[in-house]
């Protein structure tokens, strides 16, 4: 896998184990054994250009996650988020989708999250906001796919 400078990546996987994580040995990995405050401290003092989160985002509230991402952006640090949670993919630029140890799909978020059939075959749903906008497109209430709730709500009611 290649990681371009300036892009944030999501690794969507249904089999995250020690073997899988070997691929990321060269990076500092943040697991779910760090508190939110500890994570902020690590990022404040981080000297590399890319950091890896390993299945840890579910331990933060939405506000905490935003603060972490804002701090990463401020410090110009890019991330790789390894996760099984499809909702996490909304925040990255590029997605690698794994089935066990094989890449089955990759691409920009906007293209990968339109592949409903492949994602469902792997056991994922679409992220809520993508699913909702697709269905509202079907009913001619909206006319595009949304990747964040704020924009969808704004366009839906204004």
């Amino acid at each position: 896998m290649k990681y371009e400078e300036g892009l944030n990546y999501c690794i969507l996987s249904n089999q995250i184990n020690l073997e899988f994580l070997k691929e990321f040995n060269e990076y500092v990995i943040i697991d779910d054994n760090k508190t939110y405050t500890e994570v902020l401290e690590i990022i404040e003092n981080f000297l590399e250009k890319r950091i890896v989160f390993n299945e840890s985002w579910y331990t933060y509230s939405k506000g905490q996650r935003k603060k972490i991402l804002d701090l990463l952006a401020l410090r110009k640090i890019n991330y790789i988020n390894i996760t099984s949670n499809i909702e996490d993919t909304l925040l990255c630029d590029y997605i690698y989708v794994f089935d066990k140890d094989k890449i089955v799909m990759e691409g920009k978020k906007e293209s990968v999250l339109k592949e409903e059939k492949i994602l469902k075959r792997l056991g994922y749903s679409l992220p809520f906001v993508v699913d909702l906008s697709l269905q509202l497109n079907y009913y001619n209430i909206l006319d595009k796919i949304y990747f964040n709730i704020e924009s969808l709500v704004h366009d839906l009611w204004n």
Binding site: D32, S84, V153, N158
Partner: protein, 186 residues
């Protein structure tokens, strides 16, 4: 405070601190699940060949399933960070399984900040700080939950509609929500 004594049938607990996952290190799965191993593995959707694998070689999803399988005979089942590693399809399966287990008068306690796991599943939610109950509710839409817990997108959406003075009922099912939006828009 003992979690086991919390009131409810399927209970959600949002802790303020980190929760430590149970760790069986290199213990083999067949030595962790001591009773009815084949049936237990099938119930949690694991292949039987996992029996001879060491716990620390498993994925986080498999670890969680093994822990659940090892507790299926208990009257009170406490699961920490159970959603870690679960994909969407499995989340739905386990919500149904929890309801089935609870119907046998067993208590299930899900300790996590991932409140999506509670939706359409738990009957009571507790906020816990330093082993003390600081809040109790049975309302998924209670904003107090989302100071520490992660907000499910459907609830986030309904809150944001309310900010624009669009009042939707408290839906936790996307299909019901879409019907409601359709009614308003037409």
């Amino acid at each position: 405070m003992e979690l086991k004594k919390l009131e409810g049938s399927i209970i959600g607990v949002i802790p303020s601190d980190l929760i430590k996952q149970e760790n069986f290190n290199s213990t083999l799965v067949k030595d962790i699940i001591k009773v009815k191993i084949d049936d237990s593995l099938k119930m949690v959707k694991l292949d039987l060949d996992i029996k001879d694998k060491a716990f620390n070689t498993l994925s986080s999803m498999e670890k969680n399933k093994v822990i659940l399988a090892s507790k299926l005979q208990d009257d009170v089942i406490i699961l920490n960070n159970f959603s870690k590693g679960l994909i969407t399809k499995e989340r739905e399966y386990f919500k149904k399984l929890f309801k089935k287990i609870a119907s046998y008068h067993k208590k299930i306690i899900l300790v996590t900040k991932d409140i999506e796991l509670f939706l359409n599943c738990v009957d009571t939610i507790y906020l816990i700080n330093n082993d003390n109950i600081v809040y109790k509710t049975n309302d998924y839409f209670d904003p107090a939950l989302y100071i520490e817990g992660d907000i499910p997108p459907i609830i986030d959406f309904i809150y944001k509609c309310e900010d624009l003075k669009v009042r939707l009922d408290e839906y936790t099912d996307i299909n019901e929500l879409i019907k409601a939006i359709y009614r308003i828009k037409s």
